[in-house]
C-alpha cells in the first residue's frame, strides 16, 4: 500500500494479504508492477554466480567449469532442487574458501558424499 504504511507486525500481514489479493504474479526478470517492494534478484545474472549461463559481463568467457555448473547458486540462494552439497547440515563450509565468487570460484571444493 502506498498511502497506509504498515507499522506493527499485524499490519504487515494485512499488507501482505492485500498485496497477494491484488498484485499480479511478477516474473523474475520484470520489475515489480504497481507498488515497489524490495525485490531480491534470486539466481539471476545480475549477481555473479559461477554456474549460471552468463558471466558477470553478460558473456560466456568467465563461466565456471562444468563440474560447478548450476551448483554454487543453488547452494546459497536458489530454490532449484539440484543435487548440491547442502549448506545447512552437511557442508556448511563448502564455499568457505570462496570469498569473492568472481575471483575465487576455483576454490570451491569438490565433495564426495
Amino acid at each position: 500500500m502506498k498511502h497506509l504504511r504498515a507499522i506493527n507486525q499485524k499490519a504487515r500481514r494485512i499488507d501482505d494479504h492485500v498485496a497477494s489479493q491484488t498484485d499480479d504474479v511478477v516474473a523474475l526478470q520484470g520489475p515489480p508492477q504497481g507498488q515497489q517492494r524490495p525485490h531480491v534478484p534470486m539466481g539471476c545474472s545480475l549477481v555473479f554466480s559461477p554456474g549460471w549461463e552468463v558471466d558477470s559481463a553478460g558473456g560466456t568467457a568467465g563461466l565456471c567449469q562444468p563440474v560447478e555448473r548450476d551448483l554454487y547458486d543453488c547452494y546459497i540462494t536458489c530454490y532449484w532442487p539440484a543435487q548440491v552439497p547442502d549448506h545447512l547440515n552437511n557442508y556448511p563450509d563448502w564455499t568457505a574458501k570462496c570469498a569473492a565468487a568472481t575471483k575465487d570460484w576455483r576454490n570451491i571444493d569438490l565433495v564426495f558424499p
Binding site: M1, R5, I7, Q9, K10, A11, R13, I14, Q21
Partner: protein, 464 residues
C-alpha cells in the same frame, strides 16, 4: 451506489496512526488518507466524492485495511480450534500457605476454591501425570513451560525439584525445550534454594506490595505480623545470587496501597528487581480494600507518569522495568487480537494438588470450574462452555469498544468474583483499560517515530 463510512479504529499519535479494530493492525496515514477520514467523520460519502478528494487508490487502500467500510460490519473473530495445543501448565504444588493475606483469592473473602476433602500437597504421582499431560497436550509446540504456584510454592520444594528433573528428562527425550518459573512470597527462600533456582534457570516472581508500610498492610502471617522484614534480606539475596533469569516483582494494589511511583521506585531501585508489574486486587466491590473509581483514576495517573519515564528510557534505547508497559507494547506491536482475554483454558491450564484441571491457577480447587483431571484429560463439554462464555463475540457490551483486541472483556476470574459469571465483561475496568491502552499507543507512536529499532525487543516477547 456504495456509500462509505468510517470503519472501527482508534486514532493516535495526533491522528497520524490508526489502531484498527478488530484486526489490531497499526498503520501510519498520509495526508490523503487523513483527508478521506476527516470527510467521513461528517457522515457517509460516495466513492466518487471520496475519490475526488484523494484519488481512487486511497479509497481502495483504506477499504482493504477496513479503515473504511461499505456495510458497517466489522469482521468477526473466529473460534480457536477445539484442540488448541497447550503451552503452559501452572502447577499448584500445594494450596497451603504460611501467610494469611486478607485479599488472597485462594483463601480470602472472595475465594472460589472448595478445597475441603482434597489433598493439601500435590504428590509426585499427580505431578508426573501433570507433566505427561502437558507433553501430550502440547504436541507440535517446541517450547513449553511449567509455572509452579501455590499456596506458597516453596512449602513443597522437594516436589518442585522432582518435577524439574522428571520434566526436563522427558522433554529432552522428545527434543523439546521446557522452562520453569515460580511465584513465591519469598519467606522460605534459603541460599541453597536460591542456588538451585539459579542453576536450573527457574524464573522467579515475588509477590510483594512495596516498601514495608504498604507491604505489611495485607501480606501478613497468621498472627497479623507483617512479612516485610522477613523477606527483605531474602529478596536481596535472591536478586544478588540468581543471575540466570530476570527476577520480577508482582504488586497487588489495594485501596490502602496505591502509591505506584513509590512502590516502583522501592522495588526497582532499592531492591533491584528487573521488572515490576502491578495489578489491582480482585475483589467484590464492597470490600474495604477494593479500589473505587477515584482510586483507579489516581492509579492510572501514576501509571501514566511511570509510563512516561518508560517512554523516555525507550527513546534512549534503555530498558525500563515497568512491565505493564512492556507487556502491552508487546501485544500492540504483534497486533494481538484476542478472541479470549487470556490463555486460560486454551494454551494454559492450572492443575491443583488433586490433579484436577482448572482454566488457570486462580480457579484451581474449585469444583464449579473444574475442566478435567490430569489422568483422564479435559472434559470437552466443560471446556467449550467455559470458552464459549469467554469469547469476545458473546460479550455484547464489548462489541463497539475499540480496546477489545487487547482486552476481550478481561480476566475470567475477576469477572466471576464481580459478576458471578466468568463470561461477563469486566465493565468496572473499561475506562481504565481504554485509558491505559491509549497511553501505551501514544508511547508506541513515540517509539515508532524516534527509535523504531527499539521495537525489535517486542517482536518475540511472549504476549500474554
Amino acid at each position: 451506489m456504495n456509500q462509505y463510512r468510517l470503519g472501527e479504529f482508534h486514532p493516535f499519535g495526533g491522528g497520524r496512526f490508526l489502531y484498527l479494530v478488530p484486526s489490531a493492525g497499526i498503520f501510519e496515514l498520509d495526508d490523503a488518507c487523513r483527508a478521506v477520514l476527516s470527510r467521513l467523520e461528517k457522515g457517509e460519502a460516495s466513492r466518487e466524492e471520496l475519490a475526488a478528494i484523494a484519488g481512487p487508490d486511497v479509497v481502495d487502500e483504506l477499504h482493504q485495511a477496513h479503515a473504511i467500510t461499505t456495510n458497517g460490519f466489522s469482521p468477526q473473530l473466529q473460534q480457536p480450534p477445539a484442540d488448541f495445543p497447550l503451552q503452559t501448565l501452572v502447577m499448584n504444588l500445594t494450596n497451603q500457605c504460611n501467610l494469611s493475606c486478607q485479599y488472597c483469592y485462594e483463601f480470602g473473602e472472595d475465594k472460589v476454591a472448595t478445597p475441603d476433602g482434597k489433598p493439601k500437597f500435590m504428590d509426585f504421582e499427580t505431578a508426573r501425570q501433570s507433566v505427561d499431560y502437558l507433553l501430550t497436550s502440547s504436541e507440535g509446540r517446541r517450547a513449553i513451560h511449567i509455572t509452579f504456584f501455590g499456596g506458597e510454592t516453596l512449602m513443597n520444594f522437594p516436589l518442585l525439584k522432582q518435577v524439574v528433573d522428571y520434566a526436563s528428562k522427558k522433554a529432552a527425550e522428545q527434543a523439546r525445550a521446557i522452562d520453569f518459573s515460580l511465584t513465591t512470597n519469598a519467606t522460605l527462600l534459603t541460599p541453597a534454594i536460591i542456588d538451585y533456582l539459579s542453576e536450573n534457570r527457574i524464573g522467579v516472581t515475588v509477590s510483594m506490595d512495596g516498601a514495608k508500610e504498604s507491604h505489611d498492610q495485607f501480606r501478613v502471617f497468621a498472627n497479623g505480623r507483617g512479612s516485610y522484614d522477613i523477606i527483605e534480606p531474602r529478596v536481596r539475596a535472591l536478586i544478588k545470587q540468581h543471575k540466570t533469569r530476570p527476577i520480577t516483582a508482582r504488586v497487588t494494589m489495594t485501596s490502602q496501597a496505591m502509591d505506584v511511583l513509590g512502590t516502583y521506585k522501592h522495588l526497582k531501585h532499592d531492591l533491584g528487581f528487573h521488572e515490576v508489574g502491578f495489578a489491582p486486587v480482585t475483589t467484590s466491590p464492597n470490600r474495604l480494600y477494593s479500589i473505587n473509581e477515584s482510586g483507579l483514576d489516581s492509579v492510572l495517573d501514576q501509571f501514566r507518569s511511570l509510563a512516561d519515564e518508560y517512554r523516555d528510557h525507550a527513546l534512549r534505547g534503555k530498558h525500563h522495568g515497568f512491565s505493564n508497559v512492556s507487556d502491552t507494547l508487546a501485544e500492540l506491536h504483534q497486533g494481538v487480537s484476542k478472541s479470549h482475554p487470556c490463555g486460560a483454558g486454551l494454551g494454559l491450564v492450572g492443575v491443583g494438588p488433586s490433579g484436577d484441571i482448572a482454566p488457570c491457577h486462580r480457579f484451581v480447587d474449585s469444583d464449579d470450574h473444574k475442566l478435567g483431571h490430569v489422568s483422564t484429560g479435559l472434559d470437552r463439554a466443560r471446556v467449550s462452555d467455559f470458552l464459549g462464555r469467554g469469547h469476545i463475540n458473546t460479550k455484547t457490551d464489548c462489541s463497539t469498544c475499540w480496546a477489545r483486541p487487547v482486552c476481550a472483556g478481561g480476566c475470567h476470574h475477576e469477572a466471576y468474583v464481580r459478576y458471578g459469571d466468568t463470561g461477563h465483561p469486566n465493565l468496572h475496568y473499561c475506562d481504565w483499560i481504554r485509558g491505559w491502552t491509549g497511553t501505551c499507543l501514544e508511547i508506541y507512536a513515540a517509539i515508532v517515530e524516534h527509535n523504531p529499532s527499539f521495537l525489535q525487543h517486542f517482536a518475540d516477547r511472549k504476549a500474554a
